[in-house]
């Protein structure tokens, strides 16, 4: 499986990364290098193996809690790092004409 330039552009779009045309050949090479190398896993027989998603030893199950609000009322702290604060809102370019 080898990636072409169009696939790299599509993946970059999915990842919301603006990629310059001049960088596409380098990125394509690097991604193909990495993907070619991880291809080795296909040779391992994993029939009947349950995939392991989490890091917890023993596959500890995640805890549940009551679904209620436990925090809040701190708009200033939440907005303190906003690049464009508009009152108690985040400012973004116009989305709806």
């Amino acid at each position: 499986m080898s990636l072409d330039a169009d696939t790299v552009r599509r993946v970059a779009r999915l990842a919301r990364l603006r990629v310059q045309d001049a960088d596409i050949p380098r990125l394509t090479d690097e991604m193909n290098g990495i993907l070619g190398w991880v291809e080795q896993l296909q040779a391992v027989d994993t029939t009947g193996v349950e995939p392991l998603a989490g890091g917890n030893p023993g596959g500890a199950s995640l805890p549940w809690r009551e679904d209620r609000v436990t925090d809040g009322g701190m708009a200033d702290a939440v907005l303190a790092n906003a690049p464009d604060r508009q009152g108690d809102h985040y400012g973004v370019p116009k989305v709806v004409e």
Partner: protein
Amino acid sequence: MSLTDLSIAGARRALRAGETTALALAEAHLDAIARVNPRLNAYVTLHAERTLEQARGADPRLPLGGIPLGLKDIFCTEGVRTTAGSKILGNFVPPYESTVTARLRAAGAVSLGKLNLDEFAMGSTNANSMHGPCINPWSPPGRDLVPGGSSGGSAAAVAARLALGATATDTGGSIRQPAALCGVVGIKPTYGRCSRWGIVAYASSLDQAGPMARTVEDCAILLGEMAGHDPKDSTSADVAVPDFAAACGRSVKGLRIGVPAEYRPEGLSPEIAAVWDRGLDWLREAGAEIVPVSLPHTRHALATYYIVAPAEASSNLARYDGVRFGLRELHQGGNLNDLYEESRAAGFGKEVQRRILIGTYVLSAGYYDAYYLKAQKLRALIRRDFDEAWRACDAILAPATPTAAFSLAEQPDDPVTMYLNDVFTITANLAGIPGLALPAGLSAAGLPLGLQLLGRPFEEETLFALGGAMEKATQFTHKPGIVA
């Protein structure tokens, strides 16, 4: 003995006996940082006023009362800039404190400042940082060596006596590899031992916090204060925190030490192989029994990691959107999509972008089963290897790194070659088990060589006992050339 040369245990005794003060300790370290840090670039943010204020208020009766520590710049610190080494967080000032650093603070520790790292903890050299590379204090004159990564600043600061200890994180070896390259001790505890809350996320199923220090006992003391259940991290383990420090002097007689054949690949540096053999001799002399074990899926661990970690990273790093916090870039008249794409392109470095792209690809429709699901199955097999090994042994001794520290100028361009640095450390993250790295000798060129002990889940005490025994045998008292 100079104040910056003390161990944490020693400083604590001196503070409690009234032989020194927290303020004198803090001032000695700030002075050392002022002299040595310009050469090393280990600290990226200092806050002397805050440090001195904390020292003045320190209570020596607390477990870490007055002990000056450096904090990896990936732990959110309330009111102190936290960058994760990334331009995208270049001006980020967290309005909250990570659980681990809050615990250290509550135990009386004094913060000296924030330490350099690879961007978002992605790297093995500390060369991928918005702050510029951190330099290994063992560098000979005229040649800059890497301290390892991603916790390069933590390892360099501890080795150069710019802190008595430091916090660090380990996703694929980021505590153990730099500890080995800088000749200090570091432990990645069992996944879930320390809360991840308030630590800038890289790959959440692999990320774990841990300490670095100059002795095994000091690491045990620090881990004892960092660890513990936290309801704010749903993967934080609700298990008791044992007295790790008490385990350091424990006898290792009768413990079975596994030696995995797969960790002696062809081409392993003869110096690393020799130091490994010497480590086994020390443990044998201390009464442990050496047994061969097999971890047959080890050779697929790196490839497994470089699917799982980028996949999680691409998801975790989706939050950097140029809207809520962090860098914003937008050309005049650009739309919301331009804002996302331009901010992320300007804010993320090359390696981070590479991993986001790989992660996005392996999670994308049509490729998920072939890459991500396959890697998760390999991960299960890698964990199963360890489960099998624990029937035959109580811990494993292996090299921590394939080589000693290498030159910053000679680091490979090819990402796959660079990833080979993590070959010995990555399995512990995939399996969720603890790993302790410690210095075991010097290379012919006078550089530290490290070994790592791997253990069963939540059996860090066994690693501290074995580490303590090895430390006694090694007598690693060498100091780097660039030192306070």
